[in-house]
């Protein structure tokens, strides 16, 4: 690993830490409660929204980058694209787990249930399972070239579940609020996006995007180290 790259990664780590601190401060201290929510429990739980949107960005980026890296791998057959794809899926799954967990915890005081088979929740759970299956598929294949090829094809098709999840609250009847580009009159626990709420949401989304980029750098380095070991083993054999 080059020293220059290590410095870049350290710089990104520091920026991510600062961005996360600002996002947390804004979400927990700076932003006022949503005006239309009536009970203290609902008002406090609404602050989960900023975290929920942030981890959503992490998951979305994880799966989008996998989609792009999978196409790039199939076109170029360069190993680095496969490394980026698997690293990004792993991060996407971690963030998607956080999306489901934070959403479920927020749903309890808002919808009076931890889980409901609403179109958004169902499609989000399907996305999560699809990408866990991606990791299982990789684990089941021995040959590295075959593994990379199969995973790339899977990574491209699996991605179509992501825009479907995004659009599910716009296309189907749901109780999940529509935050970006629209509204849902049947939503339960929705709130108006005032300037301070909008700004805090935006800062949280940017902070998680930076965190995703920093973690991706470290995860790809892990893949590169593992490959260096394989090469050394081949030399020794």
């Amino acid at each position: 690993m080059t020293r220059e790259r290590d410095l870049w990664m350290l710089g990104l780590d520091i920026i991510a830490a600062i961005a996360m601190f600002i996002a947390l401060y804004m979400a927990l201290v700076w932003v006022p409660d949503a005006a239309n929510l009536t009970t203290p429990v609902e008002r406090a739980a609404q602050h989960i929204f900023y975290l929920h949107m942030g981890v959503n960005v992490g998951a979305g980026l994880g799966f989008l980058v996998t989609f792009i890296a999978s196409i790039a791998y199939l076109l170029s057959r360069r190993r680095i694209w496969d490394m980026i794809a698997v690293s990004s899926v792993e991060l996407g799954v971690i963030f998607a787990t956080a999306v489901l967990a934070t959403g479920s915890i927020w749903a309890r005081p808002t919808w009076n249930t931890w889980w409901t088979w609403d179109p958004r929740l169902t499609t989000a759970a399907i996305v999560w399972l699809l990408y866990i299956a991606y990791l299982m598929l990789r684990g089941a294949l021995e040959d590295s070239a075959q593994r990379a090829r199969f995973a790339a094809v899977y990574g491209i098709f699996a991605f179509f579940s992501v825009p479907l999840t995004f659009m599910s609250i716009r296309w189907w009847r749901t109780i999940h609020p529509v935050v970006l580009g629209g509204s849902n009159p049947e939503a339960q626990g929705g709130f108006a996006l005032g300037p301070s709420i909008r700004l805090t949401m935006f800062v949280s989304m940017v902070a998680f995007a930076i965190l995703y980029a920093a973690l991706l750098g470290h995860r790809v380095r892990l893949e590169q180290t593992a490959e260096a070991i394989e090469r050394l083993k081949e030399q020794l054999a």
Binding site: L28, V41, A44, A45, I94, A98, W106, L222, L232
Partner: protein, 50 residues
């Protein structure tokens, strides 16, 4: 803990445990792999000297 912040605290705890747990796991994997690389390089060097 007050009931009003129970859910908020729970959501933040779960999300950050996931992220920090993953970072910790990555750091451990990286350290183990670097130890393996050092060992393999040493073995290779010894073999070339012999």
């Amino acid at each position: 803990m007050e009931e009003s912040v129970e859910y908020l605290a729970g959501a933040f705890a779960v999300a950050w445990l996931l992220v920090f747990g993953y970072v910790l796991m990555m750091a451990r994997r990286q350290r183990r792999l670097e130890q393996d690389i050092a060992l393999l390089r040493e073995t290779l060097q010894n073999r070339q000297q012999d």
